[in-house]
Homo-oligomer: 413 residues x 4
């Protein structure tokens, strides 16, 4: 269990910290100004600053860092990647300090990261050329369409979208929502989860298929809001309707019935990326909380001198240190023993991270007073984002239930 | 300690429940549609449905119910009012079920309620005729400008806005933010808190003054957001700048140096109204949680059959029943012994209510999955609103500190 | 919903407070000294001071106050009783201030209270004369034998003790534990719950029967400890073994199959008594916490000036006020509509009370440092006692589950 | 940051696990039986089984494992020691599974461990020969007398015991309590903290001195109880009175004024040992909880199938994994950078461990029902022990305050 950051990681950390200071943080205000000026507020990838940041990041080798070396091997020249989870972890944490701008600038933003992994692992050569290559170059964006409005999607057998073979095509029918990134017109390709065989065994019913945005019958119904935010700065969350959407049979990813397995393979790394970035969010919150507590005076003393505020700060630090170590252990386990061996730890960080970070954000908000809920600080938006993680790819309760079953079984063996 | 709802209250409850079912709930969708069609999204009072609802409410005697009989005596014919706090409590709870629409329709919405109370209690006959009368008729709206961006406003000595006597005028300079309702152009009058004598004793420095919206030098800088909401459906929250704003000396409310006392007098009833409505919010959340838990199936059983969800529902009910009783006791104390005698209880409900209701909303959201955070249910918007109550007119921590001091003193006596 | 203490209650409160100050508190040290001197430490009723206190209490009409007027009518001269639950509530709270001494001195201590109620409600004239009469006079003590070591007793169908009819007798076989009071040799009579018909429907299988202590085959196996305490000062908690214990058929209470119904009838009042006394325990803890915080200085300031301690005190007061109101409401409901109509509220206080009081005790202990866990303050012993209430007559989780089912059903109707 | 257990550690773990299975666990019942038979219940070291276990442990090289190699160098043949903190950590965790028996059998029990460290680091050759040598051989026991009844001892300036130079002697006067192990007559030597110079600067006032048990004027007043436990099985906790207790000047440890520094040096390792063992306690609790949940059936299903119990188990596992990693990191930091560099982490585990383990124990108790609080399971006694850690060598609040100050300072630099 060795979490030491190796020399390449330390070098990358230094380079990334410099990149954040020189390029990302100064660009934040410009990004928001450019977004306001767009005709379509969701077309965030067309903000000029985004193109500039990406060119700089790619030029500095800060590109596609998320793509694990053991998934894809060496990427072609200049496309980056090639790190282990443990190497990527401290980098992802750093990007978490700046909300959505840094991950996107480095081509390390969800849901594209997970989609690239799916294509890298399960895609045919043709699928890779057509979709993975432009994604790795950030020429297009993608979305992952799993969640449905009418059922508890955490139970994959509930999925109602159908994918029916018809000659050389598959025909997709169904409704999806919370499809992150899909409001952006540059989001050109959707990976859609549906059932090809509702009568197969529990985890063989589902398949995944590639559906290009311009396919007839695919309708973007509306944007979903999260606590009042439409999240246009990273493409929003769409409700979609698929009505007799026909795509060539070769758009299927892997085999029929492999959908559940692909989803599982996708979720492990996705979860750890979210957790790493969330720790960055929490670090930022602690920094803001300490800074505010020092500056704000009430009843003759700065907040920083008041016991209750100190209690919040101490608890925040103590909780976050524990969480970070568990995330690092999980990354190390995934690297050394594989995603399956890290199953319990992946569940554990999925459970622990949003609870911890939400708690810290709540205290940071309280330290800021009303300002903490406003657009003047990133805290409320971070809170909204972290809150969604408590049900993103399955509510906490499902993961706790599953983890407990395994724990109980350990003691029965 | 008698909390029995008397016959007039029971009659009003029945009338109000019918009004909600027949008029308010059916109007909710129309209200939002009309808001979208407005040129100025903050001009919520110009939505036609609002006028209709108000006419109906006033016609049915469901008007100005908040205005306590002992503050103002009998109102002129048809203007309502005249209830005790204990009579008003169950009515306010009912209006809490429908978010902002019901309180506004009944002319019982903050901040106008508090402002009407201030004018009723401390206004001169001229001030009452000019401002209170149209407020009681809902012909205009008002705002209360106390919070400042640069200081912890919970400590009144921190206030930086100056109100300086100059001949027959007062000149106001300063910045305010989170001035609820002030984005609405129909919000015609501001009650502004500032310092007339920074050298006076701690609670004699402040005064309150009436500043009409169109006074030169008063600038509406921008709307503040709460989480991602701009709360345009009740006039938003404005940042204001006062630059050499000159008003006649007779605009002062009460005497110079009375500002702190007036603020205190205003806050008691305001807090209890917030708490009553918040309990309605929580009741609605429990209803939605139970309903969702019954309909949603995961892993072969409805959520309502799952132990953790039942734990949430039971805890919600047990906590809310306790809270409601404390609010009723506080109302009864205010009615029978006055606001001062109810000081500890008013603090207690100010502390207890947001914590309890926020907890219930969080569980209701979790039961709804991602939908719970969206515009499809009122839960996330309610959460945002309730969250602000943890620092509205002083953060929890200030009130806890004060309540504890009094408790400790009890045992030293 | 009128919780006003009526004139007789106020008069009794004054009399009881005087009795506590003059007699009970001064006797506490003597009681513990006398207990140490006993041959059998569990024979607490033989401590001379107990007899004196009882005589004084009975002489002052502070006797059997727990026995509700509507259960038994007027008691014979000098035996007290005759209060409503709402009248008894504030008196029980006062007795909670002094641990076990006050309830016992007033003949208002569990489990005798519940046993007297059972006999009053369901006993034959012979049973009343033989057992109820000396219990009302505190000449003997009793125990209630329901919980069993091998099964989850919260589910009454789990009960394994058998009560088998054999001619004119019943024969009892089984094991019981946590039989409070039973280590005291003056505990002369046991009410035993067992199954007379394991094949009957779920709630018709059980019966209750009177078993005198000296019946052959009844063995007191050992005392149970609670957190290191043997609770000898109120008769401990025994493990019992019943081996072919034969009693006359007329010892059955009520009818065969009525055991579950009698248990339910017994539990309602028992729960509310526990809750009332627990509130007294919490009040005492707040008093001790405030007093300690004032006296103890660390790092140059008394604890009472430190924010975290003030937070504890404020939270304690705010939580306890809510809890007390819910308990009073429950008492009022039981008085005015009966135990059945108060079912949800009785569950609610059973859930809410130990959680609230345990929290307060934990903070009071922390304020006292190591002393708080020691024999020098009543806090740790109170904590142990309150902790048992989280599973006494059914763990919290069973009650929450049941309350939630009812809440969900409300919204489906 | 490398937490891998090296080969010697793995070998020791295997040897210790075997020793626990073969010797310690089978001895537990015998130990308690032998304790009951003792004339002085506190003379736990005279229980024959203890001697046997010690001989076996020492014979197997499982002896004095706690004594860090960098404090004392190689111990003489057969006296063990010589591990790093990271090597010792998993061994200490294993001993935590069996309460007090295993640490004592391995001569790794507090307070002797800390006292041996103090003597090893600060003792003169004569002090080492006289006291350290027999302690390393477990021929005698020792106590550490710091806490005082009348003041908040977490603030060292509060200490009231005086140590006054008088010719060739020092004279000690004062009161101490919670002096663990001191009720055991084989506890022959006390390390006493007192003030030699009350007028010196804050952390130069205190000194430490060796006081043999039989010194005139040293009185063992009474045993202190923790909840209801007297903890006789490891020597109890004594209240002591020092009246003109005269010892030779050479009994001083280190220099006058060094007392605070020695205490600090002692506490770092002591805290980490407590935390390691506490994790073992929590592991045992999870094991018992899972086992009980599998065996116990209520309402037709084992507890292990019920959602709320699963939630407890999952939370327990997730919290404990995080805590263990933080403790390991702290051990690694102490080994590689020294105790001072690990200051924040030592505070963090001091804060986090009792809170986490107490939570787990509470849930394990609840899963066991009343049995969980009794002598039939180790849970309640463990709870009592862990609860004391929330103020042992300073309450949580002091450590949180200090940690927060450092965190705030980081962001101001």
């Amino acid at each position: 269990m060795d979490f030491t950051f190796d020399a390449p990681t330390e070098e990358l950390r230094a380079r990334l910290l410099a990149f954040m200071a020189e390029h990302v943080h100064p660009a934040e205000e410009r990004f928001h100004t450019e977004l306001v000026a767009l005709d379509d507020p969701f077309a965030w990838t067309t903000a000029p600053v985004m193109g500039e940041l990406r060119a700089q990041a790619r030029g500095q080798g800060l590109w596609n860092l998320f793509l694990p070396v053991n998934h894809y091997g060496a990427l072609p020249d200049g496309l980056g990647g090639g790190l282990t989870n443990l190497q990527y972890a401290p980098l992802a944490e750093i990007t978490g300090h700046s909300g959505h701008l840094a991950p996107a600038a480095l081509n390390c933003a969800a849901p594209d990261t997970g989609n690239m992994e799916v294509l890298a692992l399960f895609g045919t050569p043709e699928q890779k050329e057509r979709w993975l290559d432009p994604l790795l170059k950030a020429e297009i964006r993608s979305a992952f369409a799993m969640t449905e409005p009418d059922v508890a999607s955490s139970d994959a057998t509930n999925i109602e979208t159908s994918i029916v073979r018809d000659g050389d095509s598959y025909v997709v029918n169904g409704r999806k929502w919370w499809i992150t990134g899909a409001m952006n017109p540059e989001c050109e390709i959707f990976i859609v989860m549906g059932k090809t065989d509702p009568d197969a065994s529990r985890h063989q019913q589902q398949s995944m298929i590639l559906v290009p945005r311009d396919t007839p019958g695919l309708e973007v119904v509306r944007p979903m809001h999260v606590f009042g935010y439409d999240d246009h700065e990273h493409g929003g969350h769409a409700e979609l309707r698929f009505t007799d959407v026909r795509v060539p049979a070769e758009n299927l990813i892997g085999e029929e019935g492999q959908g559940f397995a692909i989803a599982q393979a996708r979720l492990g790394p996705g979860r750890i990326h979210h957790c790493m970035r969330s720790i960055g969010v929490a670090e930022k919150a602690i920094e803001l909380m300490c800074s505010r507590a020092t500056q704000r005076v009430a009843f003759g003393r700065p907040l920083a001198a008041q016991g209750v505020v100190r209690e919040w700060i101490a608890e925040s630090r103590v909780r976050l240190e524990q969480l970070r170590l568990l995330v690092l252990k999980t990354a190390w386990l995934m690297d050394t023993r594989g995603t399956k061996a890290a199953h319990t730890e992946i569940q554990a960080i999925k459970i622990a991270t949003p609870a911890c970070v939400q708690w810290i954000l709540d205290k940071a908000i309280q330290t800021h007073g009303a300002g903490g809920l406003s657009q003047d600080f990133p805290l409320a938006a971070s809170y909204a984002g972290i809150r969604t993680l408590r049900f993103a790819d399955g509510p906490d309760e499902v993961h706790k239930n599953s983890l407990a079953k395994a724990e109980i079984a350990r003691w029965q063996a």
